[in-house]
Amino acid sequence: MKLDDFTPTTVYAIYIASTPERVWEALTTAEVSRQYFFGNAVEVDLKVGGAFIVRAPDGSLHIGGKVFECDPPRKLTVTFNVNWPALIEKLGPTLVTYEIEQAGSTVRLTMTESHDRPIDDDILSGGRAGWPAILSSLKSLLETGVPLTIQMQPPQRMLAALKRLGVATP
């Protein structure tokens, strides 16, 4: 797998009154991620080739991947593959890059989702709905100490598109 083969499909930038170190910690630790990421716990072995895992609140594997770039507290690139059988065979790997930059007294966090082949907008709609909710809550958590409680509907458009492709989802 070569990073050069990947093209951005979704980019979301958000400015946070925080420090790069705190944003990095929020993105890479289970105890903080549980608070803003729908109860999901991020577990990451912070070295190139290390495992990147997101566990659902019940402890099951939700997203699995590997670390491709790791430059704390500035840049983290991981494969971010939702653990649904056949997903990776049909769609290839999903790459997620977080870039953290100082912007005045604030921090700009830029999330970029990329793919190594053309992906239908219907499939991408799931991530495009999820990222703003996750990152809005992360910002609130770091600025106010309290995350947002965002009730999300299942991403029907994406689930229907996956079904058409023959990807079974829970």
Partner: protein, 153 residues
Amino acid sequence: MRKPEFIYVSYIETTPEKLWEALTDGDFTERYWFGVHLRSDWKIGSTFEMVRSNGTVSDAGKVVEYDPPRRLAYTFVNLSDEYKGELPALATFVIEPHGKLVKLTLTHEGFAEGSKFLLGISQGWPAILSALKSLLETGKPLDIPYTAMKSES
């Protein structure tokens, strides 16, 4: 090929009414919008202007929709030489209650292929809407220097 447009969604702990005021009250916009005062009488078809703190108008267009506290739409284009020849594009704000929160969806569309203005607004909106969210949730806007926004390829 994707449409040349910019979409940004933000979840904010506030009410639709407060968010509406934040988007349409020029004195309030000055606090989070790089000092820009939005000037309009908000009648459909009326002039819409972004007024800098030094009094100059940076961007101008027309009001297209005004349906408080749900939908707001206006066109505008930056008047500087940098964007010479660009046509006004349409920015639509949709405000929806979402549990105890408010979901704000901005869709900015109607750009020509390869528009430089689209690149500019794609850098501007995340900063403006992040500062808006901070101001409504914490009472404090963000201190984002205008120069901190960068070109993204």
